[in-house]
Amino acid sequence: MKVGLFVTCLVDLMRPRIGFAALRLLEAAGCEVVVPASQTCCGQPAWNSGDRRAARLLAEKMIAEFEGCDYIVAPSGSCVGTIRTHYPELFADDAAWLERAAALGSRTYELADFLATVAKLDKLPGDFTGTVTYHDSCSGLRELGVKAQPRALLAKLPGVTLTEMNGAEECCGFGGTFSVKFGEISARLAEKKCENMRASGADAVVLGDLGCMLNIEGKLRRLGDERTQVLHIAEVLAGEA
């Protein structure tokens, strides 16, 4: 099974260890992993900003780079959401590209979703101990239906206790460029998320999207919370947390 790892631009820039954790997990699941060197960004920022032309050019690049793989996996719900849900909209007026986009989309998975539903990974390298709470990122949850998968994987780690926070499904306020365009609202939403997280009593919040991660960690630290860890599910499962 040849799996193309789409690292995503934020992991590349901010948290390479999440990329390596994803690589390790995919290999542990017995996949042959390729990491196309020319990959950059799926085009999500352009798409969400209304720049259809730029989004389309990047989508074409992404499709060409990855369509040779059996599966495409990314440690981010929003990037996968862009590819699976929105690429077809980008190519709605171009039958040939639409077919390629739809074919790629149907084989593209969010990491936890892939590990749980396709690779059915049972033995996880991770050895995290502690109480964690899971933050459902908006695209992962509402575009891809990622909800039970990460929780099922976490349940396989003997040292992990999962406790649900209030409002786990509510937006953390990141929203891409929204976080800068409407900084006050964004930070206020992050604060509500942090309040819920802390009330859950968890040692760490685990999540599947880099945007949420930066937003939540940034707010926690600003609030003076140096204790609560903010971890990507890949780090926890791969034993790199």
Binding site: P16, V35, T40, D51, C171, E184
Partner: protein, 469 residues
């Protein structure tokens, strides 16, 4: 109503810091969100949403046909159907009707169209006294004609204490503290108006084409009095509100109160058909329908037609994290929250509401609760596209986006830029694991830190690691 959506950013920023406002909103949110969750569990939600969407789509596909049918049926039963192109025409028509029937006082139940048109001011100017009888609208009216901040709970931004103080000041009665007593006081104040009014003005939740009826969903009973006591009843509603049959009405009524207030059925549900007939004990002698375009017709057949399915339940704003943080006034026109972020630019001009479609994280909490499956985030995104196409975005933003997307298509240069970018961010972090002040995005670090990058990009590390292997 005066359009103030261009000032969104400043007003939203101020509201985001208003914790008292957020506390009020969150109480209501608890009520509506929890209530809805309980109520929709009683039905096959997805099937009902699908059926409701289909009904609304059927009407919109042949809107002219259903409107003509409605006109025929309503006329047959003694009603008069009038058409208004915009808010000014609404005002003119209502004032004409008032003159024709010698109206001095008009009692009103909730009508968003009357807000779109700024009808109260027009009535006053014509010497007709408008009296709002929906409790929330009444509170706003006696508080210097304040604007509603929510489409079904217009005074949601007020606390009980604020209302108590207002009542004491305006009613000149001792201050009450109990909500029941305050409501009774408002009823006593309104009773005289109900009995002395010559005209009733209401909105309409649906128009039923096969019977020429208007359906009204209310909780306070004021709607019944407004529509049956005075000799003239004027319904003002958007042309998109027409549905084919009573059967369709039954389907939509399974989902509207549940989505709106979490009620299985609203306290009052009226289907009003025709004028008072010989032998009837109540009902209006004259029944007018003012069916309004005000931007709606232009949406038929456009990329935004889905928006016309809206049944004004407010579930989208009740579930919206942004609305819950800033409230309704910041949106600057009649409709707040996600539906307003789409409708306002479409009705008042994209260039007059530049920020609204961007004032969303696109979390799609609205889309998943909308009873008629309006893809609100997709519509906001389409509005963003139109802004880009029409060159309405700020120059700096366009340049940054263009540069970034060009780099992203040139992997070699992109890798270099990423490498330099990471070094720059680390330099800003000054050896810490976080950046406290970020000159390129000050609005981020005003309210939170920005975590520092690890140090090298994935692609740098991957290259080295692979060589090691």
């Amino acid at each position: 109503m005066e359009v103030r959506s261009m000032h969104f950013k400043a007003r939203a920023g101020a509201a985001a810091a208003d914790k008292a406002l957020q506390a009020k909103l969150s109480t209501a949110k608890g009520l509506f969100v929890e209530g809805r969750k309980r109520a929709v569990a009683e039905i096959d939600l997805e099937a009902t949403r699908e059926a409701s969407k289909a009904i609304r789509d059927t009407c919109l596909a042949d809107l002219d046909v259903w409107l003509e049918r409605f006109e025929q049926e309503a006329t047959k039963r003694g009603g008069r159907v009038l058409w208004a192109r915009d808010g000014a025409e609404i005002c003119r028509l209502v004032v004409d009707i008032a003159r024709r029937h010698g109206v001095k006082k008009a009692i009103k139940s909730k009508s968003m169209l009357s807000e779109e048109a700024g009808l109260n001011a027009a009535l006053e100017a014509a010497g007709v006294e408008p009296v709002e009888t929906d409790l929330g609208e009444y509170i706003l009216q006696i508080n210097g004609n304040e604007h509603p901040s929510h489409i079904i709970a217009p005074a949601i931004h007020k606390t009980k204490e604020e209302v108590a103080e207002l009542f004491e000041r305006v009613h000149h009665r001792p201050r009450k503290t109990d909500i029941g007593e305050m409501t009774r006081e408002a009823r006593e104040m309104l009773r005289a108006h109900f009995l002395s009014a010559d005209m009733g003005i209401s909105g309409g939740n649906f128009l039923v084409a096969e019977t020429g009826s208007v359906a009204l969903v209310t909780n306070e009973g004021n709607g019944r009095m407004v529509t049956t006591l005075p000799r003239v009843h004027v319904v003002i509603t958007g042309v998109e509100k027409v549905i084919p049959t009573l059967e369709d009405l039954a389907t939509l009524m399974r989902i509207l109160p549940r989505s709106a207030t979490g009620q299985t059925i609203s306290n009052y549900f009226s289907v009003l058909t025709g004028t008072k007939r010989p032998g009837d004990t109540d009902g209006p002698e004259h029944h007018y329908f003012i069916l309004v375009d005000n931007g709606r017709v232009g949406l038929v057949g456009s990329d935004f037609q889905d928006m016309l399915r809206c049944i004004r339940c407010a579930a989208c704003m009740n579930h919206c994290p942004v609305y819950q943080t800033i409230g309704g006034h910041a949106y600057g026109w009649v409709y707040p929250g996600p539906m307003g972020a789409v409708l306002t630019p479409l009705y008042v001009g994209i260039e007059n509401a530049i920020e609204l479609p961007h004032a969303a994280t696109l979390c799609n909490q609205c889309g998943v609760v909308c009873p008629v499956k309006i893809p609100l985030p997709d519509l906001m995104r389409k509005l963003r596209e139109q802004q880009v196409e029409r060159g309405l975005r700020p120059w700096g933003e366009r340049a940054a986006l263009r540069l970034w997307s060009w780099l992203a298509r040139h992997p070699g240069l992109y890798a270099l830029a990423a490498k330099l970018g990471v070094r720059y961010l680390n330099w800003l972090a000054e050896g810490e694991d976080r950046i406290r002040v970020m000159g390129i995005a000050p609005s981020w670090t005003a309210g939170r830190d920005f975590p520092a990058p690890e140090g090298r990009t994935f692609r740098e590390l991957y290259k080295t690691n692979r060589r090691d292997r």
